[in-house]
């Protein structure tokens, strides 16, 4: 699976933003339901890589968003965890996906006494 690659990409982004290796307490990410990413697998990979690369033992907090969908029959916009759900207004299953593929590092929280290098 590609969660290992993604965890490495995350570490590089964090390292660049902080200007070096800093011990982390928490990392906050957002994952959309259509990003094709397993949160649990990412948690496992990220924790492992952070430890190996001297970023402490951060907890990964995942904000799972919902997908925004547009009903093609009544034009209602609604949110859902998946694409199985029907429109809450008219019951139609026909939809266009407006969002749901996001995958971002939102913020990090440093261990006490740590400071960003940059």
């Amino acid at each position: 699976m590609h969660e290992m690659t993604l965890a490495q990409d995350m570490i590089r982004i964090i390292e660049r933003t902080l200007g070096g290796k800093v011990r982390l307490e928490r990392v906050n990410v957002t994952i959309g339901p259509l990003a094709g990413i397993s949160g649990e697998s990412l948690r496992f990979c990220f924790t492992e890589i952070a430890r190996l690369e001297d970023f402490g033992e951060p907890e990964l907090t995942i904000n799972y968003t919902k997908a925004r969908l547009l009903c093609l029959d009544c034009r209602e916009e609604y949110s859902s965890d998946d694409l199985f759900h029907c429109c809450p207004r008219c019951g139609s299953i026909r939809k266009r996906v407006l969002s749901g593929r996001e995958f971002t590092v939102d913020s990090v929280e440093l261990e006490e006494g740590e400071e960003p290098d940059g």
């Binding site: 699976m1 590609h2 690659t5 993604l6 990409d9 995350m10 982004i13 964090i14 933003t17 902080l18 307490e25 990410v29 259509l34 990003a35 094709g36 990413i37 093609l72 998946d82 694409l83 199985f84 299953i93 026909r94 939809k95 266009r96 996906v97 593929r101 996001e102 995958f103 971002t104 590092v105 939102d106 913020s107 990090v108 929280e109 440093l110 261990e111 006490e112 740590e114 960003p116």
Partner: protein
């Protein structure tokens, strides 16, 4: 309290930003050379290479192929034998191609070759991992084969809700299996209303010319 606050650092960055930037570079390069590009995604064995072999016969040197595989040059050799230049990327374990790997592979293709109209990229066989990686292609194609079952459309929405084209391959096997073609197409359209669909058999050639003509209609 103030100290607490200072320990939180905002990042707000898309993890695939770097890939997306590289993909934009590929897209620009190919478009500057007047080359139309496709990214072919399916599970292993659905028939990507067989489709490309047929296309190699149809397009000849007007097409170049990038083959992504975890290991071996076999698919590139198959496509070359079928009549068009091919470059193999061996990902050595990675379950998808990324834009950087494609950029490197592009260096071994003669993009200035006269008649070169089409670049076809065969992604690593996988229905999940490749779906988030833009390679810089103009057209993303999702392929499902009849033996895999029609339920796979809804099981892999991160792919089938984003593809420009949905191919159903091995249609020659439909009489022997319970794959419901209409249902697969309907379920794909329900979440991806603009998708273009072809049913085909790379083995017998059924539907293949229609697909090739459709691709041609997108050339610059």
């Amino acid at each position: 309290m103030a100290e607490e606050k200072n320990r939180k650092v905002k990042i707000a960055e898309k993890i695939l930003d770097k890939n997306d930037l590289m993909a934009a570079v590929n897209r620009e390069l190919l478009s500057a050379k007047g080359i139309f590009s496709i990214n072919l995604i399916s599970s292993p064995g659905a028939g990507k290479t067989t489709i490309l072999e047929y296309m190699a016969g149809y397009f000849g040197p007007r097409m170049a192929v990038i083959e992504g595989d975890i290991q071996t040059r076999r698919d590139a050799e198959r496509v070359e034998r079928a009549g068009c230049p091919a470059v193999q990327i061996e990902t050595g374990g990675a379950c998808h191609l990324d834009a950087l790997a494609v950029k490197k592979a592009l260096e071994s293709i003669d993009l200035d070759a006269e008649n070169l109209d089409l670049l076809a990229i065969e992604n690593v066989g996988n229905l999940i991992c490749p779906s988030g990686y833009d390679l810089g292609e103009n057209m993303k194609i999702g392929l499902l084969s009849v033996p895999e079952g029609d339920d796979k459309v809804m099981k892999y929405p991160s792919l089938f809700s984003t593809v420009d084209v949905f191919l159903i391959n091995k249609i020659d096997l439909a009489p022997y299996l319970d794959f419901d073609v209409d249902r697969a197409i309907e379920e794909c359209r329900n979440m991806n209303p603009d998708v273009t669909v072809f049913t085909l058999s790379a083995k017998t050639g059924e539907g293949m010319d229609d697909f090739c003509i459709f691709l041609e209609s997108n050339f610059h």
